[in-house]
Point group: C2
Chain length 425, copies 2
């Protein structure tokens, strides 16, 4: 990381000041080619939190992300430390040795400007946009399953002496503002009449009132909120929805890990899985006369299955090959007759991650329909009645996942249930 | 805490250098009365880790505890940072507002000497000695149940915004050497042929071999080892056995929290509960012609029940009265119709603490019989055959707790099973 002496005092960048900044970075300058005046600089950020610039030169291009000192989606009235950029950088550094080319290359982190100069991913698009457009990505589910398996296994106590995770916990325990957002916007606000909430109204008014009156649902959501705060299994991305993945047909990249902290592995699994289900339920809203999206929905469910199965298989394989940590110490299971018990314990642990994925995934689904930050999958559906029907299906599914976990022993059980919960066939 | 400028450079204290040190502390000097030459200073430490001095003056006395830079029980060949004294002090400071007079008063912490000047507890004795002597302490079980309830509830996310626990986690994540000891000596070594282990031999050789070949037992112990490292529920004492409690008939104090860290509440519960069970199984070794200790064993089991029931009742009451934290946020359960679901969730959480208490307690029992650090409850039994019989009963109980948790739905189930596992009636 950049030493303090090299860092710049914080100021919000614009296209011109960014051009000046980049001009001083020799390596990046060489990558862009030409003279600074020739570079095209534009701000393209559309997320909730940051400025994002693309800088194009005659030879190449880079992406520059700067953390703002407030929540962009809310404006300066909702202040938020830009220090999350430091943790984004720390997360990338921690997982880079394990996840290979599934994250962007980082060229420069400026600690004073909370600003990262990184690989421009092109012609990648945000996965969420691809799912709305009905595009298929043959490697996606396997890549993200592999990603979560490797990033979480190698930052857990299964892989290393516990001191390593404890050092990481001490560091990431300072990344509190994003955790505060998650605690409030995912695990609290959606379940009562918070002024930050919105939903498709009046269509969903009755259903929303019913959910907010459903004690067992709220208790289940609260239990996952407690898990989120108290199960320190691994370094997690913290916001791994389909807006944090960029794709081409051949390539997959995970971006935006600024919510990173040490927490439950199921939180990352659930973010991705839950957003696939949201996409499934949103598809009728994107149907056209030539494409009812039914085949695409089947493809989505298949990706959900591949995602989980890849994660499960890879995680267990890594555990077998690299289980040298303090959790389940190898010295205890050195004899051939120990293999069955260890195998069974590993399966039980991975089963618990499945249950966590479903619970966290359900919480993620609900907050996107009842809470502050919605998803374009639904918001892009102009017909409010149709949108409400799509959302109602997703809510019914999420509610069942939270209140009847005993119905879901496998990912197959989940995928069978998904179509049954849809409001329209 | 003492500011760095006031702290002394580290040196191992002896009676004379301690006298000089105390002479400079005006408040402590006043407490002792008289002139330093008149004070009686003696070293009384008998634990595994520290020097402990008693300083007596004409007016009063104090206790001084200094952390050594190695494990006292092993000698300088097993180095260990004295920084644990800092965390002991930090733990006392964190829980003091909640646990009242259940900890000693602290007069002075010297950061440079890793040395604490504190209330001398007199005529208190170490609880473990009292249990060996067959003494009864009418308040003990209720006091420790109350202590664990208050210390854990008020350092959890149930009581406060999560940022408070996260700050504490960041601090205590530096207290790694004691955690390393726990990980190695409780959750690993006892289950394989580590050179640090010992057991009553040859009497227990067969049973020890059987336990070390019991895959499901090892998998269960490993699962609790993983929980120990990854369930960050509250600030825990970390070593709350009957050697960390001082008692009179009327008064109870918890001492020696240098293993403190943020972890599972059940770890503290299990330490105390498991050591009560160890005491129960050791009683035949302390029987005399006039006292077969059967009545005392019944008293011990009753204390185990009172301990758990007090903890459970107080923890739930605190949750009802002070549940203002981010876990199970009050805003979600504001309506009368939410009460039943919240009640049920609270019961489920406390039930999970019971299960954790039993699992951790069992691990604590096993390590004291097969591992590095034993307990005087058994070691004081000179007849090795009798000692082995006592230990075998405790091992059978611990093994059943770990491998058949489904048999124990209540603390009553446990207490019923305890006598059945004894090798001799």
């Amino acid at each position: 990381m950049t030493a303090p002496a090299e860092s710049s005092p914080y100021r919000i960048l614009d296209c011109e000041s960014l051009r000046g900044l980049i001009a001083e970075l020799e390596e990046v300058r060489a990558r862009l080619g030409g003279r600074p005046e020739e570079w095209q600089v534009r701000e393209v950020g559309d997320g909730n939190l940051n400025l994002v610039f693309i800088v194009e030169g005659p030879r190449g291009s880079v992406c520059v992300k700067q953390a703002l000192p407030y929540l962009r989606a809310a404006g300066p009235s909702w202040p938020m430390s830009p220090e999350r950029a430091f943790f984004e950088h720390a997360y990338y550094a921690a997982v880079a040795p394990y996840v290979g080319a599934l994250i962007p290359r980082i060229y420069r982190y400026d600690a004073g400007l909370y600003c990262t100069v990184m690989e421009r991913l092109s012609p990648h698009i945000i996965l969420r946009q691809g799912l709305i457009a009905g595009r298929r990505y043959p490697n996606l589910a396997r890549d993200i399953g592999e990603y979560v398996a490797r990033a979480s296994f190698f930052t857990s106590d299964l892989a290393w002496p516990f001191e390593r995770k404890m050092e990481g916990m001490a560091l990431f325990a300072r990344n509190q503002p994003p955790v505060r957002i998650t605690v409030d916007l995912i695990f609290a606000d959606p379940y009562f009449a918070s002024p930050r909430n919105r939903h498709t109204s009046p269509q969903l008014d009755g259903l929303v009132a019913e959910l907010r009156g459903d004690g067992p649902l709220k208790a289940a959501a609260a239990r996952f909120g407690q898990k989120f705060l108290s199960e320190v299994q691994a370094l997690v991305h913290g916001d791994l929805h389909s807006g944090s993945v960029m794709v081409t047909e051949a390539d997959t990249r995970v971006i935006d890990p600024e919510f990173a902290f040490y927490g439950p592995i199921g939180f990352d699994l659930g973010a991705f899985f839950g957003n696939l289900l949201l996409s499934w339920y949103s598809q009728p809203g994107h149907a056209t006369p030539g494409d009812d999206r039914h085949a695409y929905q089947a493809w989505i469910l298949e990706q959900a299955r591949i995602f989980w199965e890849t994660f499960r298989g890879r995680f267990l394989a890594l555990w077998s090959e690299h289980g040298q940590g303090d959790a389940f110490p190898a010295a205890l299971f050195a004899e051939p007759q120990d293999a069955a018990a260890l195998q069974s314990a590993r399966s039980a642990f991975v089963d618990s991650l499945l249950a966590d994925m479903l619970g966290f995934g359900a919480c993620k689904m609900i907050r996107r329909i009842l809470g502050f930050a919605h998803v374009i999958d639904f918001d892009a559906i102009r017909d409010a009645d149709l949108r409400a029907d799509c959302e109602a299906g997703a809510l019914a599914m999420a509610r069942t996942l939270l209140t009847h976990p005993e119905q879901f022993h496998s990912v197959g059980d989940v995928l069978d249930a998904v179509p049954r919960m849809a409001r329209r066939a």
